[in-house]
């Protein structure tokens, strides 16, 4: 839905700017963008910052229980953002929670991922969950791009339902890949440090 997509991007530009700041020139190659998560607008902010060229083959990963609530939200998630849904609660899950993500990567899409799994209160991310590590193991060739969302925790702090206008820059860092034999904890801490370094 192009008019709705353009409108959403316009709203994001007006409210929070959402201008991209690339440490290295962006490549059109399939990537996994992972970011700190502080507000309900984070997905849209990264999506708007990517620009039309990268946006078309990038799919945000998001919780089904949040985006399936309400008609408009579901419509935007499915038809505009083309969200890859994940189940946050165990009962809804099939055997492999990463299967939908792997399928999206296999078909050539890039992913937007929030490895903390939930929104935090402060500007810096909490410890990452294992999802990013498992994807890095399964797709060693896909570059992992750290993203830092500046100020989004001020635009719409946890517990509020309306945004306020604050200029938020979206910083894309240098891509990283998992080193051979890098352990789960070490890799996740290094990935988190890459996001923090952009702050």
């Amino acid at each position: 839905m192009r008019p709705l997509a353009a409108m959403l991007c316009g709203v994001m530009r007006t409210l929070v700017g959402a201008h991209a700041h690339w440490q290295e020139a962006p490549t059109p190659a399939r990537s996994i963008y992972f970011a700190n998560h502080t507000s309900h607008m984070d997905t849209l902010a990264i999506w708007a910052a990517l620009g039309p060229g990268l946006r078309v083959h990038t799919r945000p990963v998001a919780a089904r229980d949040y985006w399936e609530r309400g008609g408009l939200r579901r419509y935007v998630a499915r038809r505009v953002l083309n969200v890859v849904f994940v189940e946050r609660h165990r009962e809804g899950r099939d055997a492999d929670p990463l299967a939908p993500l792997a399928a999206a990567l296999d078909e050539g899409s890039s992913l937007i991922l929030f490895p903390e799994g939930t929104r935090g209160a402060g500007p810096l991310p909490a410890a990452f969950r294992s999802g990013l590590y498992n994807l890095a193991v399964r797709f060693p060739a896909v570059p992992l791009v750290p993203v830092y969302l500046e100020n989004m925790h001020r635009a719409m702090p946890k517990g509020t339902f309306v945004p306020i206008p604050v200029i938020c820059t979206v910083r894309f860092g240098a891509p990283l890949t998992r080193c051979a034999d890098e352990a789960r904890e070490a890799f996740l801490e290094r990935a988190r440090a890459a996001v923090v370094a952009l702050a």
């Binding site: 001020r154 702090p157 509020t160 309306v162 306020i164 206008p165 604050v166 200029i167």
Partner: protein, 312 residues
């Protein structure tokens, strides 16, 4: 000459100025020899390009009528306040007051001009917003740096909304013999304030020796202020024919605009420094942010408005 005719003469003049500026910019670019001059000329040229865009936006707004003008200045307030708030250390307890400032106060302040309700326009922010927004913040129950936070938000709203809104508020004035031409007063104010900025910049670059306030605004010089200020005052005096003023009165009004504009730039530079930045934002290429462009206007507009209202 009717208001319309004056407007077209003005647009012709602005167009000529911009064409001349662009040609001069191209000539300077061809001549720039060192990296230092190239950087200065590149900055000058991006400023000139931004001037083209600003002049075009204003021309369209004036032709489209008062509502378009109000919407335009409302957007300027919105983006200027967004820059101010971005640099101000607010807390989650300020969320509701800030939401009200952006989405209730700004539309209301400009709508009051549209509804021709001067009484409420003049006190909405200094009285109602000043009392109610801090009370709403207090209800959120966070005493940490409370006075500092609310004072900064109040400053932000005064400068970016209350002061800036006095430019289109010129449409409210009833001046005998000048009916239907108030938009030209907006033009007079904008022209003098912006010419003063440009000429101070040019005079400062050409002749600037003595720093004026090096700790607050390192680029301002005594030579730039005097040369640019006097030149802009003369420009204002020469534009008396679009105003209800006599030539001498126009000269005096232009002088007030220049002085207040200078004080606005200086004061907001001090605010910027105390918040720890050089530019308010990066919205307008070469100029920094929206607030870097309207700082002088925000101080000149209310004073120009009240002097005109009182004496004419």
């Amino acid at each position: 000459m009717s208001g319309r005719e004056k407007f077209y003469w003005l647009m012709g003049g602005v167009l000529t100025l911009l064409v001349m500026a662009s040609l001069a910019g191209a000539w300077l670019r061809a001549r720039a020899a060192t990296d230092g001059t190239r950087a200065v000329v590149a900055n000058l040229n991006s400023r000139i390009r931004a001037w083209w865009a600003m002049a075009a936006i204003f021309a369209v707004a004036f032709l489209a009528g008062p509502i378009a003008t109000l919407v335009l200045f409302g957007c300027m307030s919105f983006f200027a306040l967004r820059e101010f708030v971005t640099l101000t250390p607010t807390k989650p307890a300020d969320h509701v007051p800030l939401f009200l400032s952006f989405f209730v106060l700004i539309p209301l302040q400009y709508a009051l001009i549209g509804y021709d309700w001067y009484g409420l326009f003049a006190i909405l922010i200094p009285v109602y917003a000043f009392l109610i927004l801090p009370a709403v913040a207090a209800l959120a129950g966070d005493p940490d740096r409370y006075l500092e936070r609310t004072a900064k938000i109040q400053w932000a709203i005064m400068v970016t909304v209350y002061c800036v809104s006095h430019t289109p508020a010129l449409l409210l004035l009833r001046i005998p013999g000048y009916e239907g031409q108030n938009a030209l007063l907006i033009f007079f104010l904008l022209l003098v304030a912006q010419m003063s900025d440009v000429l101070q910049y040019v005079f400062g670059k050409l002749l600037g020796r003595t720093p004026l306030a090096p700790t607050i605004s390192p680029s301002k010089t005594v030579e730039g202020l005097v040369g640019g200020g006097l030149a802009a005052t003369a420009v204002g005096g020469a534009m008396y024919w679009i105003t209800p003023f006599s030539p001498l009165q126009a000269l005096a009004m232009a002088f007030v605009i220049v002085v207040m504009g200078f004080l606005g730039g200086l004061t907001l530079s001090a605010v910027k420094r105390s918040l720890g930045v050089k530019d308010w934002g990066a919205m307008i290429e070469g100029h920094g942010g929206m607030l870097d462009r309207v700082d002088s206007l925000s101080f000149a507009a209310p004073i120009f408005f009240h002097l005109t209202r009182y004496f004419f």
